[in-house]
């Protein structure tokens, strides 16, 4: 079991081997060198029930922090951003029928993309660093 940081009893942040971005996404390195990508427990909880995910296409390339797609909740929309310079190698097609899987299991079945870094992964931060960002956001 991956250890967790829980903030305010509701925002779950999974520790190593999960890595994070400042923009509320997580990544998890796979054996084949690709990375699974999703949104964090904080983001999923805050967005609420989800209606739709707009995907990039397999083969699309992005620079770190560039918008890769859009998540639609019932009453709001939010971009999700590239964790590092990367290429999209797979999209989680099941989410096309039920985007709310993200809301229910954001670190597991609710993964959004599989990406391949094209220029290192230095832009990532640790769970602890990410937890500090969340705490600050809550204070505001």
């Amino acid at each position: 079991m991956t250890e967790e940081i829980v903030i305010k009893d509701k925002y779950v942040i999974k520790k190593e081997p999960f890595k994070y971005t400042k923009t509320h996404e997580w990544v998890l390195k796979q054996e084949d060198g690709t990375w699974l990508y999703g949104i964090t427990g904080y983001a999923a909880t805050e967005l609420g029930e989800l209606a739709f995910v707009e995907f990039p296409e397999v083969g699309d390339t992005f620079e770190a922090e560039e918008s890769m797609g859009v998540i639609e909740a019932l009453k709001t929309v939010s971009d999700y951003y590239a964790p590092f310079d990367c290429e999209v190698v797979e999209i989680h097609e099941e989410l096309e029928d039920d985007a709310n899987i993200i809301h229910e299991d954001c670190y597991g079945e609710g993964w959004i993309l599989k990406v391949k870094p094209t220029n290192g992964t230095d832009t990532l931060i640790t769970a602890e660093e990410y937890a500090e960002i969340v705490k600050k956001e809550i204070e505001h």
Binding site: A51, F52, V70, T76, V77, E96
Partner: protein, 465 residues
Amino acid sequence: MGVFLSNFSHPYIANSEQDKEEMLTELGLNSIDELYSDIPENIRFKGELKVPHFQSEFEVKEHIEKLLSKNISTREYRSFLGGGVLDVYIPAAQDELLRRTEFYSAYTPYQPETSQGTLHTLFEYQSMICELLAMDTANCTMYDWATGLGEAALMTARIKKKGNKFLYTAATAPNRKEVLKNYVSGAKLELIEIPYDKETGKMDKEKAIELMSEGVVGIYFENPNYFGVVEDEIEEVIKVAKERKIVVVAGVDTSSLGIIEAPGNYGVDIAIGDAQPIGAGPLNFGGPLAGVFAMKFDKKWTRQMPGRIVGITLTPKKGKWAFTNTLQTREQHIKRFRATSNICTNEALMAMSTAFHLALLGPQGIKETGESMYYNAHYLKEELEKIGVKTVFNSEFFNTFLIDLKIPKDKKEEFTKFMLERKIFAGIPFSFDVENYDYLITTSYLLKKKDLDDYVKAIVEWRNE
């Protein structure tokens, strides 16, 4: 101290001189004129506006009525005008329903709690449009057919992502072409015109297929097209479009669908048109119009569809129908600059009006009015041929056709006047060359045999003069 009118510079614009001074100081300007410094000197109006002295309500009314009496209407005159609008009859019941205070507003309501009647009517409008066009999803209108075309072009680009070319036929109405060009100019969409066949007036099939190359996201044609010609040989073009995954968009004369095949039945993905010819409202200087926009169902495409959509749902205590604006996350008030369309309103009142009209007409009425228009046009064509006036294209048509009148350009005004003296709106002048005008004529179901005969008689007289 109370607020006195004399403190204001104008009874309806409540800025006092002091307010103006404060605002100018805040902006760092010396005078109000400096706000308009962007407008070049040479196009600025100088001097005093010739505004007449004030008049009483009675006097103003008398003046306006005198001006209005100069208008001529299709109730006294016979209209052979078309080109996207149609002389229609609005039954008393339609106006009666529309003017009910629960309905009579230009706005789509945001609050479903207080507007079930309006939303229900709009939902019925969408359902009728889907039935008429054989489509699965319709929005509750764009501004008009032309903006619908612009939106459809942008939508095909959003769906296909890769590619930036949009094809349209040369036989598209000139005003719609203009709006299309304007509409896509910011979106880096390249427009390519497919020529029409000079003999038949139909889309040049070979050329269309040749143009459907890499990077083309959508293809648009009108049916019947602007010349009135029915595009009845486009199966292959549509087949090739499907193979090459190009979105097929068709603009149709909604009033023709009682007798012409619905676009959804011959492979069209997105169908657009105008609701005016199916009774949105009477001719009023060419409006008001309401853009019809419908598509085949595809979950991903629906989210790329512009405009308001009213959906049906169940109340929290299950079992009761309720209506609400749906998929609003596509719209500007939520999605901001990424909204599917920057038109965040519609022609809600005209959509309701259309729903009332269609409900009163029913399928039988739509068929009968369509047949009536078809017969009128074909009778008129035959009678014109008897006096030696040919049609420009010898193809099947619905209620509109181009007649080979060859009115020299300098005689156009004279011809218009001549026909108006006989209480006839002669049609839309259309020029293929620099010297002459042919006329695009449309016959509504309101024309009687005598009206058609009078038209032919007038042409004979014109020729004899």
